[in-house]
Each structure stands twice: as structure tokens, then as C-alpha cells.
């Protein structure tokens, strides 16, 4: 596979890796600053949002003080940012550490998103390759047509459709995700529908990217040489086409991570999945800014991680050139 590539200078490659890591970290920090600023523009605050009927102004002031809302903005921002790398995500409007509130749900969302990402990463290139075997053939047209059809569907529409067909009417899969004693998903079968609802639109999207990347790659000179040499199609595809298309496919799948996380929030509400979706919608109702910021920080970190992997794949497959 790598035989096709020039041997790059190892030092230069290491430098590229360091550069990629630093760049992604800086971008994440900028996002966090933007999020904190957005949250600070709130008209109300968490103290009023979580009060009870009948609490007076004095009680509210006391609660503000307890939540640290009366300290200067910059101090709070600095403390929040400084705490993030240590896993301290601040305190929610209800006075509970955010890390504690997200400790159970976030891994569940990670599992859901991760499974959907894995399904997407496995199925999309496979479909793309299958379609590329006979460009313009029946398989190619069918794959591209269906991919185009599903890629624009909102996840909640897919989720509700799946719920009706595969659960309410046929009873094949459970409609509701329950938590087991350990706080995780009680039964693997409960994951099927949420994962499908998330993965289907992304598979449509990534199949098209894979198909296009393979088509671009097939115009490269060394491929034409291989075809003229009379190598079998399958061999050309796996050994010559695919390696060149990997960076484009990886970036495509990596950018799907954000879509998957966003979709997860919506899909979780449909299936009662015990992830951050429920926490997040509640947090918005409560105007629980630290909690929302915490969720955004975590998802941002995960997406950063996936993009970094894609960056490194690009370094790996293109050597020092990028």
C-alpha cells in the first residue's frame, strides 16, 4: 500500500503530527471561548430558572452567590477554561458538578455515536467500492440513487419511521432504551433502532463522498497504467484506488461525527435513550448554562479527536505533503 508513496523524511512527518495536534487544540479552545460568551448573553440566569414557586428576591440573591454568579465574568471564564483539561466542567445551575451529571449519560451517547460512526465508516466505503466496480452499471446507479435519497433526511424523521415499522407494527426491536443496573444500556437489541436512525443519513452522505473520491482517483496516471497492465478490477480497486481515496473518505467520515452527535441529541429523545440528549433539552429549559457549555465542550473535544485521527491518516497516506 505504502509502496506507492515516496519515502518521506521522518522528522518532517513528526513535525506535521505535532502541528496537526496543536492546530486542533487551538481551534477547540476558540470554540469554547465562543460558547462561554454565547451563554453569558443570557437574559435570565440559572438562579431564577431553578427557583421554586414562592422564593423571594433574597433567596435568589443567596442562590446566585452560591452558584458564583455574582463574581466577575472574566474570573469565571478563566476558572472554567482552566478546569476543563483536568476534567472539571464547573457546576450546574442546580449546584451539582457538571462532570457528575454527564458522567453517566455521556458514555452512553459516546457508545451510540461511536457505533453509528463505526457502521458509517464500514458501510460507506464498501458501498462506494461496490458501486465503483462497474461505473454506470445498475449497482452504481442504485447505490448512488439511494444514497442521494437518504442523505438529506432529518434523523428524527428516520427515527420515527423506524419506530413505527420495526417496533410498533412488527415488534422486532424494542422501542425504548432502558438502563441496566450499571447505568449502561440494558440490552444490545435496544441499540439497533437508534444506531440505524443516526447512521442511515450519514451512510448516504459518505457513500457519495467515497464514490466521488474513487472516481477522482481512477483518473490518476498510475491507475491507468494498472488497467493497461491488465490487472483484475478487484485488485486495482483494493490496492491502487482505495489507498489514494483514504484521506478524502476519512475526512468525510470525520466531519460526520458532528452530524452524528447533533443527531444523537434528537434521536435520543425519540427512543428515551439515556444519553446527553435528555440532559441537554432539560438544561435548555432550565437555562442551565454551565451544563450546556459542558456538553458542547465534551462533544467538541470528541469531534476534535476524530478530526485529528483523520489529519494523521492524511499525514500517513500523503507523507510529508499535505
Amino acid at each position: 500500500m505504502a509502496g506507492l508513496l515516496r519515502r518521506p523524511d521522518p522528522n518532517r512527518r513528526a513535525w506535521r503530527v505535532v502541528l496537526a495536534v496543536v492546530r486542533r487544540a487551538v481551534l477547540l479552545a476558540v470554540l469554547l471561548a465562543v460558547v462561554f460568551a454565547a451563554v453569558e448573553l443570557l437574559p435570565g440566569d440559572a438562579a431564577t430558572a431553578t427557583s421554586e414557586r414562592g422564593e423571594g428576591e433574597a433567596a435568589l440573591a443567596e442562590r446566585r452567590h452560591l452558584l458564583g454568579l455574582d463574581r466577575p465574568l472574566f474570573t469565571r471564564f478563566w476558572e472554567w477554561m482552566a478546569g476543563l483539561p483536568t476534567g472539571d466542567l464547573g457546576t450546574s445551575a442546580r449546584g451539582v458538578p457538571v462532570a457528575e451529571l454527564l458522567g453517566g449519560p455521556f458514555p452512553n451517547t459516546l457508545l451510540l455515536g461511536g457505533l453509528a460512526l463505526a457502521v458509517t465508516a464500514a458501510v460507506s466505503p464498501a458501498l462506494g467500492c461496490w458501486a465503483s466496480l462497474r461505473p454506470g452499471g445498475a449497482v452504481d446507479r442504485t447505490v448512488r440513487g439511494s444514497a442521494t435519497a437518504v442523505l438529506a433526511l432529518p434523523e428524527f424523521v428516520v427515527a420515527v419511521g423506524l419506530l413505527l415499522v420495526l417496533s410498533s407494527w412488527t415488534g422486532w426491536f424494542p422501542a425504548v432504551t432502558l438502563t441496566g443496573p450499571d447505568g449502561g444500556v440494558a440490552d444490545p437489541s435496544m441499540l439497533v433502532l437508534p444506531v440505524l436512525a443516526l447512521a442511515i443519513p450519514q451512510i448516504g452522505w459518505n457513500t457519495r463522498i467515497a464514490r466521488a473520491a474513487l472516481a477522482d482517483e481512477s483518473r490518476a496516471p498510475h491507475i491507468e497504467t494498472a488497467v493497461l497492465d491488465g490487472l483484475p478490477r478487484r485488485r486495482i480497486l483494493l490496492h491502487h484506488l482505495l489507498p489514494g481515496a483514504v484521506p478524502a473518505i476519512a475526512i468525510g467520515v470525520a466531519t460526520s461525527t458532528g452530524m452524528l452527535f447533533g443527531g444523537a441529541v434528537v434521536v435520543e429523545t425519540v427512543f428515551n435513550y439515556p444519553g446527553i440528549g435528555g440532559v441537554l433539552t432539560g438544561a435548555v429549559t432550565d437555562r442551565d448554562a454551565p451544563l450546556v457549555a459542558g456538553v458542547v465542550a465534551l462533544t467538541g473535544a470528541v469531534i476534535t479527536g476524530v478530526l485529528l485521527v483523520a489529519d494523521l491518516l492524511r499525514v500517513r497516506f500523503t507523507g510529508g505533503r499535505a
Binding site: A149, A152, L153, F156, V157, G262, V265, V266, T281
Partner: protein, 270 residues
């Protein structure tokens, strides 16, 4: 000629659906807010698709519920396309601007659209419709600019633009009279893609109750409101679900038809 007919055929479903959604509110058989059946009443009698959670006619609400969604999506698509076309052309002429937009896109890729919607709602609870438009523009423009900039770069480097620049033409003139006219196909394709993305975003926001508010008739809201009674009257959810699905697919088909056969493809849906 035949290719022209093929193009029209691929644009037709979206055009028909949009026309139906726009005309729908005038065709409703029942008032939108008056109960005609029991809550989640089954189809039958003068409610062919049954009733919703208050027993209101699902068919009437389906007919009335698409106009707003489509209007918002169109408005967002026009706005994002317009802003991106100008910014992309400027970026091609002034590389520094281009780099800023690039960095913005790199940051925003870390913020999933749904989280963006919820964030804006949090900071702007009464924003409603404008909040959704704001999110769609902020999150959509950076990607769209990349798309335009990719196509604009060769144009900006072409001889006549260089000549106009040397002739002391102002930036605005260059963008509007020299660069953009040469990007008609790209901008049209971008518009199609942005419309698809906007439908996704507006519908998802509606489902999360940002934007249209009850008692308005809206496809995404109908799905949300009637999910509880899906076993009593599935049409309350199925009908708007199919409507959104068809809209997304047909608009996407039309956008495909408009896209140039070559050139950059990797524009994210959001």
C-alpha cells in the same frame, strides 16, 4: 434538448411539492384549530387522515403545515448563498479574508448544528424563527464560502480580472461584475445544496421546538406533538414525516440536477 427535458423532470417533483405546500393553506377542508374527531381519532368520515392530539383534522394541518417550513428554508438558502458568494469571491481576491473564513469554518465544524440551535435558544429564548435563521447562517456560511472560493480561485487568477485589478477597479466592482458572473453554475448548485441543508435544519429545529410554536400547524411540530398517539392514529406522525422526507429527497434531487458535473463536491450538509 433531451438533457433539458431530463433536467426539468428532475426539478419537477420538488417544484410540485413546493407548489402544493404553498397553496395548501387555502385548500384545507376544516379549520385548523377546531376539533373534528376524538383526540387521535382514527381516519374515517370527513377526516381522511384522522385527528391529532386535540382531535383536529390531520389532513388540514398537513396542507397548512409546509408553507412556513419551505419559506424559512428558502429564505435561509438565499441568505447563505448570497453572503457566501460575495465572501467567497472576496476571499479569492483577498487571500487574508479567505484565511479568516477558513479558520471560522475549522472552529464551527466542532459545533454540531443541533447544539448550535440549543445554544442560541439558550441565549435568545424569544428568538424563535430568527434564532434558527441566525444559526443556519452562522453555521452554513463558512462551508459555503469554501465551496465558492474553490470555484472562484481560477476566475480570480484569470487575465481579465488581473487586468481590472491593475486598472484600479474597486473590490466591490470586481466581485459583482468580474468574478460572480462567471460563477453562475456554482452559485446555482450551492443554492440547491443550501436549500437541502436548510430544510434539514429548520425541520430539526421545529422538532426541538425552536421556531414554530403550538398551536401553529407545522410538519415538524406535528411529528413531535403526535408521537404520543402514534399507536392510536399513526397518520398524525406518518403524514408529516412522509411530507418532510419527500421534500428533502425531491429538493436534493433538484439540487443534484443543478450541480455542475465537475468541480468541488465535498460540501457538507451542514
Amino acid at each position: 434538448m433531451s438533457s433539458r427535458i431530463g433536467l426539468l423532470l428532475r426539478l419537477a417533483p420538488a417544484a410540485l411539492l413546493i407548489a402544493a405546500a404553498v397553496a395548501g393553506p387555502w385548500l384545507t377542508p376544516h379549520p385548523l384549530d377546531a376539533p373534528v374527531t376524538a383526540p387521535y381519532g382514527p381516519p374515517g368520515g370527513d377526516a381522511p387522515l384522522g385527528g391529532d392530539q386535540l382531535g383536529r383534522d390531520v389532513l388540514s394541518r398537513l396542507l397548512a403545515g409546509g408553507r412556513e417550513l419551505i419559506a424559512m428554508a428558502l429564505f435561509i438558502a438565499v441568505l447563505v448563498t448570497g453572503i457566501s458568494a460575495v465572501l467567497g469571491a472576496v476571499g479569492a481576491l483577498r487571500p487574508r479574508v479567505g484565511r479568516v473564513v477558513e479558520r471560522a469554518a475549522d472552529v464551527l465544524i466542532l459545533l454540531p448544528a443541533v447544539l448550535g440551535i440549543l445554544l442560541i435558544t439558550l441565549s435568545w429564548p424569544d428568538g424563535g424563527r430568527f434564532a434558527v435563521i441566525g444559526v443556519a447562517v452562522v453555521l452554513g456560511v463558512p462551508y459555503a464560502v469554501r465551496f465558492v472560493a474553490g470555484a472562484a480561485a481560477p476566475v480570480a487568477a484569470s487575465g481579465y480580472v488581473e487586468a481590472a485589478t491593475a486598472g484600479g477597479e474597486r473590490l466591490g466592482h470586481l466581485v459583482l461584475y468580474e468574478v460572480l458572473p462567471n460563477l453562475r453554475a456554482t452559485v446555482l448548485a450551492l443554492f440547491g445544496l443550501r436549500f437541502v441543508a436548510a430544510v434539514y435544519l429548520v425541520a430539526t429545529a421545529g422538532f426541538l421546538q425552536v421556531g414554530p410554536q403550538p398551536p401553529a400547524a407545522d410538519w415538524a411540530l406535528m411529528i413531535r406533538e403526535n408521537t404520543a398517539g402514534v399507536l392510536l392514529n399513526p397518520w398524525g406522525v406518518l403524514a408529516p414525516g412522509i411530507a418532510i422526507g419527500l421534500l428533502a429527497v425531491s429538493v436534493n434531487l433538484a439540487a443534484e440536477a443543478l450541480a455542475p458535473r465537475t468541480g468541488p463536491r465535498a460540501v457538507l450538509p451542514l
